[in-house]
């Protein structure tokens, strides 16, 4: 199989290394421009199974705010982001919500849980 050069910007950390990758199909031959070893993992992931953390909000009843922010505990496959958002939109939590509460377990069968990012006290509850 022929080798080709592809450019990536690693999003693992805020440094955002510009990576020059030599790839053969879905295999990485080598990468240049990476400041750490996570650059290699990132390129491998982008070629075979690109994933992203998803953060959004979910409706809350009786809370100090009408929404609670939520996040995927680990990144989910990129093509499933909008399916997950649709799933989360169906939910309404009841206050109080606690940081780390599981909002959806094993979302879309990905094995990834969706968790609450903060406490949302109930409206009457002193925060």
């Amino acid at each position: 199989m022929t080798q080709e050069h592809r450019k990536f910007i690693c999003i693992t950390c805020p440094r955002g290394c510009a990576l020059d990758a030599t790839v053969e199909g879905k295999a990485v031959v080598k990468i240049e421009g990476s400041s750490c070893k996570r650059g290699m993992d990132y390129v491998k992931g982008e070629l075979t199974d690109p994933r992203r953390m998803v953060t959004t909000t979910v409706r809350v009843k009786g809370g100090v705010h009408p929404l609670a922010p939520v996040y995927t505990k680990t990144p989910i496959p990129k093509p499933r982001i909008f399916d997950l958002l649709a799933e989360i939109r169906k939910i309404e939590l009841k206050a109080p919500v606690r940081f780390g509460d599981v909002v959806i377990e094993n979302a879309l069968g990905t094995g990834v849980d969706v968790l609450a990012s903060r406490n949302i006290p109930a409206k009457s509850e002193a925060s």
Partner: protein, 424 residues
Amino acid sequence: MLKAKYDVVVIGAGPAGLAAAIEAKKTGAQDVLVVERAQELGGILQQCIHNGFGLQIFKRDMPGPAYAQHFIDELAGLHIDTLLDAMVLNVTSERHVHATSRGSGFVELDGRALVLSMGCRERTRAQIALPGTRPAGVYTAGTAQRFVNIEGFMPGKRFVILGSGDIGMIMARRLVFEGAKVERVLEIMPFLTGLTRNYVQCLMDFDIPLQLNHTVKRILGNNRVEAIESVQIDKQRQPIAGTEEIIPCDTLLLSVGLIPENELSRKAGVSLDPVTGGPFVDERMQTSVPGIFAAGNVVHVYDLVDWVTEAGLLCGRNAAQYAIRERKLHGRRVGIKAGNNVRYIVPHVLDKESLAESAQRLQMRVTMPIEEPVLIEVMNGEERVARKTELYVRPGEMVNIDIPQSAYDAVQRASELSVRVVRR
């Protein structure tokens, strides 16, 4: 019940203020008070629901509210007083604080030391003098972020975003998640002003076009935004005739920069740096007024909250030491100036003896991007005091350099230090 006198009074409960209060208490300050304008602690982190926080400090990728929650929980366990929903009206150079709140009414109290951590606010349409009509549908990106992420409503359906700052790019993705169409992100500069990773994961991932060297020429629409007219600009930042384009949209978001919020600092007589818009500070984050310290975006606008927390910790520790021991300056200080391709540098002044205790970190932003390896050099005239290489420098990404303890002697000889960024 509020006390009349505190060891340390912290104004603003965002990441800088929370860290400062926690560290002040841990350093030995008995009574610590945090005064906060909002009804809850955490500051702007509460609306920054995206991830990317905590990678430096916690080695974990956390959403903004989770990052805030960590410090809110820690603060709650330390018997630190809080005054929420409270507006500080005045601060004097003698550290007398006037505030008003719904719960406590008008209060006056004193701090043996004061921490200014009011953060920053967004530039608005008025500050960039955007021509056109004045319809509904023009918001700063942060205002839209609050609407969407905390209050639960969408400010529009079809967006154009002016400015490639991080908040603008993050909001572009967020709006797409909530079903909106983002037509375009326009950036007047020839480079991205936010982090590159946000360009990848917020714009590229969702095919949102970014146009550099472009700005909004005028806003169209009477009651509501109906379109904007974009235009390409040349190297002198002048519009290029014939490049105009009408982009239909119902909402324009502005992500055009942040300004440190220093009205209270001014009232307290604190000297401000015209470049950063924040107080001049020394390596302990003390301002020009003894006993008044400052940390976070009120000093200069950071790119990462982790560095804000670190500044807050440093500030809180020194504020507590000042309050309980009235720690004095050694007096022999050296100014640090921004040299070639350095827009500003913090701290502005360094106690020469501070290097006897530890290495001292300088933080800066560059004026122009250099996409090749550069040397960052701290100079005393022609003598090099510290150096570091970076693979590239960009205005959107803060640069740090440490002056090592081994530079102690060189710093003693210096009458002024300057920092420059040069191609290798």
